[in-house]
Structure formats: structure tokens, C-alpha cells
Symmetry: C2
Subunit: 474 residues, 2 copies
């Protein structure tokens, strides 16, 4: 219960434990058995996917409507009980941890598609729906929601972290695919951040302000999403290259030449080896690009052919591609299993992901220097990259019981962020700040921009109720 | 000089005239003849493009660097002298008026392309450069900046109003085409809103917050813009239709079917008549779509052909298209001359533009009801629409000396906004709020969202120095 556990880094007793306990009691009185305080459920709602310690909330609550959330926020405000929105818990930077205690709002029961406006290419959904469930329900409309972060994340969480994934190079990130949000603010008021019109110049862009705010400015209770037509034809392919640099140059020229590539994914040689170990694919263990093109039969054939020509100019190939679904799946198997296969390189280790993003012209340097740093650090870390966006991930394979190794892995991560920032990049391309990346924001944004963020946070959440201890400290 | 003129609606004397005069004197002392206070120059910097009265600033200043702007802001803060950023003065809602007096910061001398990163498809520019000058300078790189609002606006102004225009349906609006901004805040600090990486999840989206803020949260002194490859092939065409509804249905099905159309513009029958009067084109005086497709030779041919088939399904045609530049220009002549040609319908009248945007499924109803309203109001108002986005403009042709007619035109504009809002639309798709649309924001956003905007404004500009009297009153 409130005030009980306080792990290292936990500051929950900075909030009056008695007030928090009273808050949980008030929530229980209002919501009955939709408030859960068992240790197991609370720990499930702290983040456990990295080396960030689990910091469970004081309670977990399951709202069924925006009005429920509004009532929760008002009770929490009265008792100074922090509020942490929770989707499926797939975030990677401690976003759902509760360092100051509080209540985790789990959107499990708010997982419906409310309306599909097929003519307008949009739909209205609740935040708890996952991207796979959404696309399952959209299938008959001929439309789909294109953002694919890998994990079967909730749409609320995807918006909150401004996530993206493998096809951002064509479809953009969450910021480009949300028309409007319904948000409960810290003062208990409900706002819609925009109308359903496809564009607007009517005042400050509250939609984009809430996207990527990680629940620190309000709780998202509904989303209006832009949809895309399911492409008539999809071609997929893979292409080996002599070097990461050749991969990057091919990506740059492909994009410059206007080929509307849907996905372009890099696997480094070690990642390919991991996949071979895991899936016995027998791929050549060199850097490799995985491609997908969307369009008509004629246009995907043309795109694929032109890509193959560009790849050959940079020494890549042979480029193998197909439009047949089962063959595409087979070709892309290595990419689909990339994360899982890493553990085959070192069974029993923990996988910790990094997430820098740099201008694409600097990507080859950034990856190559990082590979040298990994070797010098005596660490094992395959690399996958959303190369069209300049975003890449190390899968650090770490024995978390080996303090020296953990220290080397953390030091490597720090240097990676410093390297990316020196190249005009960002510490997080798509995973978000959470707790894990807070320490880098000063270097990334500078004191004045960070102060502006803090001023906005203070203006909208003066009591610091909304997911405190994430993004900016106030 | 400060405090001199006070037109109707002018509240300049709410700011201490003596302090303002002292502020102008301090600017003159610091910047010499780069501060101008002549009546003609001041009036040029008030807005005069609509029926909003001209409210000139107390002075006009021409900075040459971000440091200049920083110094200006600090002097203005000391003397409570408002700050109004100025590009080329093409805004349509009184954005550059100075209702509380102040200094107009004219970016005439900050009009350079600073860097082109061709590999990254981005460039860094100063805010005073216009879109035509920018594209002229980019031509040799094979890249272009796609946003085209019609007017040869400055990039700073385009970002400030979150503008878009004819090819937003493919390339998005300013919010989608800016990577980062350098901004001088009201406290005199300079921030960069983001790094040059193509995407980021590192904290609040200050870039998107500044885009569309119309200078009320800070002064933009530099922009990093996303560029696109100049398409290998462009086809353009025109297609007459039996009704506005047929145009809308064709647009909906074209977009749903995934044709990556670059421009799709509606002219109503009256607008076509205006063009015929102006340019003797002899077009059939029916609703008409103007199209443009970007891609390879093969893909624009395929897109054009598929569009023609969809148009025919809805009774449209014949669809005439070409990839030859001079023929494209000829076909598109009617669209290019749309605004100018309106005055041929009523020589001597003033042209006042409206700017609602609705979900595309409601567009036909919104246009048709509005046409009936125009007729019932005994007004003349041709319509052009960025139909792919659900955004359309009336060109209200008004004798501004006829008070009754002006009253009828204003009442029509009000009903148009109410109609759009009732259809889940917005009062402004791309022109911005300025002074002209402030009165609609409460109805569009509701009190809680408007209060959130005001809280952000107060947090970042507690002294209300930055373009006061625009967007939100604090």
C-alpha cells in the first residue's frame, strides 16, 4: 500500500504517505473492485523491461470511460496522489514506473474502436486498443493504421511516447497520424485537442503537444487516428551489402530519388548471425537491408527494380524481392525475429535497447564508430536500424548480475548518446524519455528549451500530478 | 510615434504610451537607422488585406541576426513594448497588425539559405526568405520545398501560421515540413526546438508548438526545413463534373484507392466563369477539378489513367492531362489565375477570403449549403477548394463602402464558420487565427482547451509582449 515499498531511486515518500493512502481509499470507495492493490498486480504495472528498477504504483485502477478518468483525476488531485497512465507496459524507459507512488490507470477495459469514418480515412478509438487489434477490426474497411513499433503496443501508449517504427519512412510517426485526442487535464477538465478536419491553423497545436508528453500533461482517453488505404500490392525483399556505409548510401540515394519506400531496415552482420543461429536461415553474414514497397502492381515492380539498380551502384546485391505474401514473410523472417534471435547469441542474458537517431548523412559514421566502441567495451550488441530515418537500436546483451559488465554497458550507452548529439542527433528517436533518458535532455535541448518545457508542465500541471519523474523535473 | 494613432478596435493605449515611446527611443539608440518610424512604413506594416482596420506599429525594425532579435526582445521587455514579427505582409487575418502598438520586426534582411544538406533532404534558412526565392536557390540540388500557399510568403510567416496550400494533400502542411526552429523567447533566451534528426521522442514538441503560434510564443529567427526530391515526372490535368458532390466523391475515392495525388483543386462553376471572363479560356462553366501527379513517367501515367476512371464513375470528364510543362501550365492557367480573376466578376470590389476546413465526407454538403447561403445573401463569392483536405475558400467580392453589404458578408462568414464547426470542422484550415478568427476559438475548442492555450501563453510570455491581441487573450 501507499508508502510501503521504496526501492533505490524511489522518491515516493516525497509525497505524504498518509494522503496517498487516503487517496487510494477514496478511489476504492468510488470504484470498488476496479481498484486493485495486490503486490503482484502493482509490480506488474511498474516497468521491468530494462535495468531500471521496478517502482510499483500504490494501486491500479481500471476505468471504463472518460468520465471515470475525470473522476479519478479529481480524487487524485484532492489527495496529491500521482497518476500514471498504463497501456500494455511495453515501454522501454520506465514510463509506467511510479517513483513517487500513485495510481496506475490501466486502460485494459477501454479498448474499443468507437467509429470508423471510411470516407474520411479516420477512426475514433479508445486508448487501450492495441495496434494489432485495431488493424484486425479495420481489415474489412480496406484501411489500416500504419504505425508499427514492433511490440503490440496500445494506441494510447504509442501516442504518449510519439512512437514510430519500421514504416515511419513512408507513413511518418504518431505525430503525423493522429488528428485529435481527448485528454483529461490535471485540473479535471476534459479537452478535445482538435476537430476532425484533416488540417487546421486554429491556435496552438495541443494535439502535437500531448503526443510525446508521456502522460505528463494529461491523460489520453480517446484518439482520432488517420488511416491509410491497404496497398493494392506490396513487394518485399532483402539485399546484402559489403558495409554499413554502402547500406546508408543506398538508403540516401533511394530516398533522394523519390522512391516512396515503405520500409528500409538495416541489420548489421552480427544481427544477421543472430538470426542465422536462431532460425537457421543461412544468410550471408554481412550488413543487410530489408525493404518493402507499397503501391500498385506496376509501381511496386518499378520501385523494386530501381532500388536494385541503386543498390548495385554501391556494391550491394543480389537483391531478392517478391510480391507473394508467403514469400515476403519468408524473406522478412530475419527482420521479424531480430529482437528474439539476439538472445540466441547469449542465452540467459538480458536485452537492453538503445534508441539514438541522427541525420542520415551521419548514420554510417555513427553506426561504425559505435560498432568499434562495442568491441572495445567487450560487449555483445547486434544492431537494427530504421535506416531511412537515421534511427538505430543496439540490443545490448548483458548479464545483469555482472556489475562490471553493467557498468560498461551503461558507459557505452552514454557515449552512444554523446556521439549522436555531437552529430546533431537525438537521444531517443522513438522510445521516449521516461526515466531512462531524462539525464540527456539538458545536453540535447539546452537549459532555455528545457526551462520552456518545465514552464509548460508547470502551467498545465502545477501540482505535478501527471506521471511525475518523467521527461522534465519541476 | 508611440500612442499617436488609435483606430477603432485599437487598444494601444492599454500600454503606457510614454514607456512605449521610451522603448522606441532605446531601439533607435541601439540600432540607428534600422529603426523606422515614418507613418508610411508603419502603415505598410499593419495589415490591409481585408476589412480588418490597419493598426500600425509604433516603429519598424530590420534585424540582421538572431542576436539582433534577442537584443530587440530584451529592450522591448524592459519598456513593455509589444513585438510583432513581419515577413512579407501576405497574411489574411490581421496577424501583423499592432492593436496595442509595438515594434514590427521585419525580416527583410534575414533572407538567406544558410545550409543545404542534400543527403539529409533538409536545409537551414532565415525566416525572411520567400518560398519562390528558396526554391530558386534549391533548384540545382534536385530538391524543393513543397509547401505552396499561393502568395510568395516568407518561410517564417508560413511556419507561424501553419500554412499549407495546394499540395498539402501529398506533402502535408508546414507542421509536417519543419524539422526545427530557432526561436527567441519572451525572456530573451534563444532556443532550438529540436535537433536535425528526422524524428525524435525527446520531450515536448516545441517545434509544433511554435508552428501556428503566430509569433505569440516567440520570434522565429531560423528554420530547418524538410525538402523533397523534385519529381522525375509531373502530370497535370483538368476534369469537369456535373456537381460539386461528384467532385467530392471522386476526390474521396481517389484518395481511398491510394493514388498519391499531389494536388486536387476544386473550382466551382462561378469561379470557372470568373476565369473565363478574365482569361477567355472558354471552359465549360461547371464545377471542375484541377489535378497534379508526381512520380516517374510510368507512375504518373498510371495515376492519371486511374484517376480518369474514377472520375468517369461519378459522371466527370473528359479528363484532359499531359506531362509537358508548357501544356500543364496552360491547363492549370485557370487555377493559377483564380484569385485575380474573381475581380473580373465585379471590378472595383474588395476580395475577402474565408478558410473553413471540414472532414472530406462533409465537404459537398458544406459547399452546397454555402452556395445557397451566398445566393440568399445577395453576395458574389466564387469558391476554390483544396478538396483533398476538405478546405475551401470563398472569395467574397464586397463593396466595402456599402455598409449593408459588408454586414451581409460578415454574417455569411459567421454562418459559414458555424456550419463548418457543426460538421466537426475548423474555422481556419490554413490562414490562421490572427485577429479575425479569435472570436471563433471558444466555439471551436471549448473553454477548457482555450484555457490550456492561455495557460501556455502566460507561462511562456507572462508580460504578453509577443504579438498581443492574436490567437488567445490573456
Amino acid at each position: 500500500m501507499a508508502g510501503a515499498t521504496a526501492a533505490p531511486g524511489d522518491t515516493r515518500n516525497s509525497r505524504d504517505p498518509a494522503a496517498r493512502a487516503a487517496g487510494v481509499a477514496a478511489l476504492s470507495a468510488a470504484f470498488g473492485n476496479r481498484v486493485v492493490t495486490s503486490q503482484a498486480v502493482r509490480e506488474q504495472h511498474g516497468n521491468t523491461l530494462t535495468w531500471i528498477p521496478n517502482q510499483p504504483p500504490d494501486a491500479v485502477i481500471y476505468p471504463q470511460s472518460t468520465e471515470d478518468v475525470q473522476r479519478i483525476v479529481r480524487i487524485c488531485a484532492e489527495h496529491d496522489l500521482p497518476i500514471i497512465p498504463f497501456g500494455v507496459g511495453s515501454s522501454l524507459e520506465g514510463h509506467v514506473n511510479a517513483p513517487e507512488g500513485g495510481v496506475s490507470i490501466d486502460f485494459r477495459d477501454m479498448n474499443k474502436v468507437l467509429t470508423v469514418h471510411a470516407e474520411d480515412l479516420d477512426c475514433v478509438v479508445q486508448p487501450g486498443i492495441t495496434r494489432k487489434a485495431l488493424n484486425e477490426q479495420l481489415r474489412d474497411s480496406g484501411l489500416f493504421f500504419p504505425i508499427d513499433p514492433g511490440a503490440d503496443a496500445s494506441l494510447g501508449g504509442m501516442a504518449a511516447t510519439r512512437c514510430s517504427g519500421t514504416n515511419a519512412v513512408r507513413y511518418g510517426t504518431m505525430k503525423d497520424n493522429v488528428l485529435s485526442l481527448k485528454v483529461v487535464l490535471a485540473n479535471g477538465e476534459v479537452i478535445d485537442t482538435a476537430r476532425r478536419a484533416k488540417k487546421t491553423s486554429a491556435g496552438y497545436d495541443l494535439t502535437r503537444l500531448m503526443i510525446g508528453a508521456e502522460g505528463t500533461l494529461g491523460v489520453i482517453t480517446q484518439l482520432t487516428l488517420k488511416l491509410s488505404g491497404i496497398p493494392e500490392a506490396i513487394s518485399g525483399g532483402i539485399c546484402p551489402f559489403p558495409s554499413v556505409e554502402a547500406c546508408c548510401n543506398t538508403a540516401i540515394h533511394t530516398i533522394q530519388s523519390g522512391i516512396p519506400i515503405a520500409r528500409i531496415e538495416l541489420l548489421d552482420a552480427l544481427q544477421v548471425r543472430a538470426v542465422n543461429l536462431h532460425s537457421k536461415l543461412g544468410l550471408p553474414e554481412t550488413p543487410m537491408l530489408f525493404l518493402e514497397f507499397h503501391g500498385t502492381d506496376a509501381s511496386v515492380a518499378e520501385q523494386s527494380q530501381r532500388f536494385g539498380e541503386i543498390a548495385a551502384e554501391f556494391g550491394g546485391g543480389p537483391f531478392t524481392w517478391t510480391t507473394r505474401p508467403e514469400e515476403r514473410t519468408r524473406l522478412w523472417e530475419a527482420r521479424h525475429h531480430a529482437a528474439m534471435s539476439c538472445l540466441a547469441l547469449r542465452p540467459g542474458s538480458a536485452l537492453v535497447a538503445t534508441d539514438v537517431c541522427v541525420p542520415i548523412s551521419r548514420l554510417a559514421d555513427c553506426v561504425t564508430e559505435t560498432q568499434a566502441d562495442i568491441a572495445a567495451s567487450r560487449l555483445l550488441a547486434p544492431i537494427v536500424g530504421h535506416i531511412g530515418d537515421g534511427n538505430f537500436h543496439l540490443s545490448l546483451l548483458v548479464d545483469t548480475k555482472d556489475a562490471d559488465e553493467v557498468a560498461r554497458a551503461k558507459a557505452l550507452s552514454e557515449r552512444l548518446v554523446e556521439r549522436a548529439l555531437a552529430m546533431d542527433g537525438t537521444c531517443t528517436g522513438e522510445h521516449g524519455v521516461g526515466q531512462g533518458k531524462m539525464k540527456y535532455l539538458l545536453a540535447e535541448h539546452g537549459p532555455a528549451a528545457l526551462a520552456a518545457m518545465a514552464a509548460i508542465k508547470t502551467a498545465l500541471d502545477p501540482q505535478n500530478l501527471m506521471n511525475p519523474g518523467k521527461i522534465v523535473a519541476i
